[in-house]
Symmetry: C2
Subunit: 337 residues, 2 copies
């Protein structure tokens, strides 16, 4: 390796209580002077912000993939290969993978993918063409199976997964409802993303409005938020309905998570609350991307990214903003040079 590099990585300095703040994280510098045989060195261009990270930075052994104090934060990045001892990757290639929140990453190529910019620009590989888009695609099409006669509620509708999921449900001809945290985002969901209805959960009448608009029947609840929004919605789950458990952003930062007390409605309605993990579909990512890329080209789908352009020092504040719902679509930190 000709050059040496200074990597900056974000580590957990202190377990948070409630929403994680700047003081829970530190940025640490380290030098990279060498990479091993078969390794490649990646310069991070885009960092993805993912609410589920909050679940991993708990002082508890109960969660898999936990991040302990002084560990680097898990996270997906898109970056450019700048050094390569691996014949599968060339300098100049763009790659995406779970390589952690840092400005440079070393990888042996296992578990990372090349970004194909024929489909979409590199940063889309953190959103619509990446794990959030793939999750929306397979969780809906393979598990929920929305059709023209179905009412579909997306909670966390303006988030990374929700913003794509609602559009795919529309492509399937379903009537699509969304919940989100502001009127501005409701307007965006309806006017920009084609949702039929969107409800601001801070509006005290949101549930009765949802109930009226859906005629009291939700065949599919694609749940990204958990908490009271999901809990209320269970009261109008349809016969043989599906509640797809995709995420629980409202609960990740709670010291004591709350379960849905209305789960007994699932009993009466022969409905189910179904877990889902996208990694089960790893060998089918390309199939989804062909369709997602086609829909994108044909303007049938939008892949909204909420991009903050800054240095890696901006990560903690951006992560906090994610929980106050600042983002419209996937929140991405673009590292300026």
């Amino acid at each position: 390796m000709k050059n040496s590099y200074t990597n900056e990585k974000v580590v957990l300095s202190k377990y948070p209580s409630g929403i994680a703040k700047k003081e829970n994280f530190s940025v640490i510098k380290e030098n990279i002077n060498n990479i091993s045989e078969n390794d490649l060195l990646i310069k991070t261009k885009f960092l993805g912000l993912d609410a589920a990270l909050r679940l991993l930075i708990r002082d508890s052994d109960e969660f898999l993939f936990r991040v302990k104090e002084n560990d680097i934060l898990h996270g997906n990045i898109v970056g450019e290969v700048i050094e390569s001892n691996n014949s599968d990757f060339q300098i100049g290639d763009y790659v995406v993978g779970s390589l952690g929140i840092q400005t440079y990453a070393i990888s042996d190529g296992v578990g990372i993918e090349k970004v194909d910019t024929n489909f979409a620009p590199p940063e889309y590989w953190l959103g619509g063409m990446g794990i959030p888009g793939l999750t929306a695609y397979y969780a809906l099409l393979d598990v929920c199976k929305p059709t023209v006669d179905k009412n579909v509620l997306i909670t966390g509708a303006a988030g990374a997964v929700g913003s794509i999921a609602g559009q795919i449900a529309k492509i399937c001809g379903s009537k699509v409802f969304g919940t989100t945290g502001s009127q501005e985002k409701c307007d965006w969901l309806v006017n920009e993303l084609g949702y039929d209805y969107a409800f601001n959960y801070n509006d005290k009448d949101w549930f009765s409005k949802l109930k009226d608009a859906s005629e009291g029947k939700l065949d599919i609840i694609f749940d990204n938020s958990g908490g009271e929004v999901m809990n209320q919605s269970l009261k109008i789950i349809g016969l043989n309905g599906i509640v797809l458990l995709c995420g629980s952003t409202s609960q990740y930062y709670e010291d004591e998570m709350k379960g849905p007390s209305n789960y007994i409605w699932l009993g009466t309605m022969r409905a189910r609350l179904q877990g889902f993990v996208i990694f089960d579909y790893e060998n089918r990512y390309n199939e989804a991307r062909v369709n997602l890329g086609k829909w994108l080209k044909e303007d049938k789908i939008k892949m909204p990214n909420y991009i903050i352009e800054s240095s890696i020092d901006a990560f903690p504040n951006a992560f906090e903003d994610l929980f106050s719902g600042k983002n419209f679509g996937k929140m991405i930190l673009k590292l300026n040079d």
Copy 2:
């Protein structure tokens, strides 16, 4: 009709808070002098006690089939036809149906069934040959599909449904675990019903014992109890596991029900919480009864009934006892003449 009869029925006199007590109910008398064309008059012999009734006697429109103040309590009975204007039923026939908690019932024959004592004695039609047994049968065999390589947990294992469900899972060759509220009942589950392991949830180590015995993997949780027992168990749900939502006896009497905060484990494990209602299987009851009756004859299954012999005035106390878990198997009030 030659004779007249004095019916005594139990009505809800006051919505309960917490576990329902004697003062929440009244026994009311009324004369029956006549039945219409096509009707039959049934003298109640056995009254079934069902914890789910507690869910219906709330001051809330949210539940279907609710019982309001001054309404008769819903309940299944087994009785003898003593007058008949209906050619499908003869005097002396034994019938079972949801005819309410009363000493005499009038029916037009719709929704009630004749009891076939070739299979089992009349009172069994409230337990193992009735709704509880049918529920255990179809919820397990049609939805959960226990096999020899599976670990099955039955919560509320000594109850009407649980006591049958565990035995069916054993017939299928699964390893069967049960939770219940006393050491005496644990011993009964293992020694009498053939459970592999039973745990007393009042023992503070119950969960770690369950975890050890099951090697931290429950493929099927057949949940009759809800509450903390079910919530803890979710932490060891297996990959693609099923939590069959059959009942929530621990929650029925709570003014504010609690949801399972560990539901997010379903996500990681691609598991599901599945609602179930036995009435969907109405046209297949006989198929189940042929097998249940055969197992009973071959001594492969026991159908435990916990019979209290008394007058209908004993119903409120018996219902209270149901929630303190006095019963081993189906609690039945046998009316003495």
